[in-house]
Amino acid sequence: MLISPEGAAGPSRPPRARKKCRGKGYLPYLYLLPILVFAAVFTYQPFFRVVVQSLGTVGAGGKFLKFVGLDNYRYLFGNGDFQNAFAVTMKLAAMFVPLNLALSLTIALLCSKKRRLSPVYEMMFLLPMAISMSALSMIFQLMLNPTSGIVNHLLGVDWGWFSDPRFALYGILLVCLWMGVPFDSLVLLAAMRNIPPSMLEAATMDGAGPAARLFYIRLPVLSPMIFYIVCTDVIASVMTSGPVMIITEGGPSRSTTTLIYMMYTSGFQSSNYSLAACISIFVFALTLLFTLLAFSFEKKVYYQ
């Protein structure tokens, strides 16, 4: 039988092992110790605790009281607040992901060719990355103020961006877009500049116009990156909590209560750890799905 180098475990490949580390066999473990300790204590331990807590009743201070099976999940899925939070989160994702992609693609396309003023507008597109989520949230809160804010005045409307349940989620959406667009357009632009110019020139020679070049060359070459971005954006929007905490606190009348915000309030305000744990697991399952999808697309990303 052939011994594959991949399948061989430690003892069956002493020659290489001996050549690589002389004597001190514990050394690599020593180097791995810090990262493993912190991963164990602050990633894996809480994860398993959350799994366990979601299956039982939990008392004050996170003490596990008794095992109840899937009762918490049954309660969660029947809970109106959860259904609302899920609907709000999905609505936000359904608006954020396509808009973010469309805007980022537009920007990447506008920037793809170097022009005289490229450095100026490229800087304008990237600059919002320098501003933090909380600073941006504060600015939007004032900018979108119904009376003293400049945006309503410029648009000639009197929308209560963060005070009217019909508009509040759109206000949050705007903040999310400002945080998402610069980064995604940067990534798309980098990918677009990786397209060999000869490919586009050849197409032009063959009579392909700008639209044909976009739909038959650029987008197909970019498609793995686009799918990857869509997946990470879905994750990002499912995880939205910051602007909600700062600007609306889930309101008005639950219209901006996202899943993570609900997890936060059930855990910290109502001390309902089991409920918070169930939401964590639910969000985790959602993000895992899209992380795996993102990884599968990432493998197909066109590298130079």
Binding site: G10, F47, L110, Y121, M124, L186
Partner: protein, 277 residues
């Protein structure tokens, strides 16, 4: 004729790009300009974009003297420096082990470290809060960054990089009696300076901008980080919106300056970071 047509479309694209760019930077400009307004001006109807004069710097001095934003910035700086230093150190150590050694369990441990990226921090905050409370790390600089010290993507990128450094060099160094720690600091670190710098900048930004976790583990005002503190200024003085904008301008100015200086590192860090999630 063709050239002329091209120039025309270039102008149109440039105009469109500038317009879109103006929309994107508008909040930053708005924040900066609003900082110069006094309260009456800020609340006046119809609202204006430009302040009456740029001579009114009272909000800035008020923000610096009457609000603790300088302390907030110092806190953030300390937390971000501790977090970045430890995260990069741990990631580099692990990357060194994975790149240079063969040992039983290597594949499993590698998977264990990489899988961290699949468990989003924000879904674990409730449980981590209980742990950090038990460790008595509330209102503590280490506590504010302790949950993000295991940097899987940093480890992955460093390992990829370390693998490009010829192993023969390490073997030769060992022959000459150079220990592994010595080798890390004398050979690997200098050779890897660019990528270490890029990852450090990226981590620093991440720690500097983090919001939810520092919010949870700080109770005392003087321990708040800048991202948390700046959102609480409205409660200090409920009506001073332009003061808040001045404070936001002050805390954002260093980030924008750093962004302009370190743009290359940031852009590289972000585009390399995305490939590992």
């Amino acid at each position: 004729m063709n050239a002329k047509k091209f120039r025309l479309s270039d102008a149109a694209v440039t105009a469109a790009a500038l317009a879109l760019g103006a929309v994107l930077v508008f909040p930053i400009v708005y924040c900066f300009l609003s900082s110069f307004k006094d309260l009456g001006e800020f609340m006046a109807y119809p609202p204006t974009l430009l302040p009456e004069s740029f001579g009114n710097t009272g909000n800035f001095s008020k923000a610096l003297t009457q609000t603790p934003i300088l302390r907030f910035m110092l806190n953030s700086l300390i937390v971000a420096l501790i977090g970045t230093a430890l995260r990069i150190l741990f990631a580099a150590m692990a990357a060194f082990a994975f790149a240079y050694y063969d040992f039983p369990g290597k594949k499993i441990l590698f998977a264990v470290v990489l899988a961290i990226v699949m468990l989003p921090d924000d879904t674990l905050v409730v449980s981590n809060y209980l742990t950090v409370t038990k460790l008595r790390l509330l209102d503590n600089y280490l506590g504010m960054c302790i949950t993000s010290l295991a940097g899987a993507s940093q480890m992955f990128l460093l390992r990829q990089h370390f693998k490009t450094i010829p192993k023969e060099m390490y073997e030769a160094a060992q022959m000459d009696g150079c220990g592994s720690l010595n080798y890390i600091f004398r050979v690997i670190v200098p050779v890897s300076r660019p990528i270490l710098m890029t990852l450090a900048v990226q981590s620093f930004i991440g720690f500097w901008n983090s919001y939810l976790w520092p919010l949870l583990v700080t109770n005392r005002e003087e321990m708040r980080t800048v991202q948390v503190g700046v959102t609480m200024l409205t409660t200090l003085d409920a009506t001073s919106y332009s003061l808040v904008m001045a404070a936001v301008t002050i805390v954002t100015a260093p980030s924008i300056l750093l962004f302009l200086i370190l743009r290359r590192n940031i852009v590289e860090g972000m585009s390399s970071g995305i490939l590992v999630g």
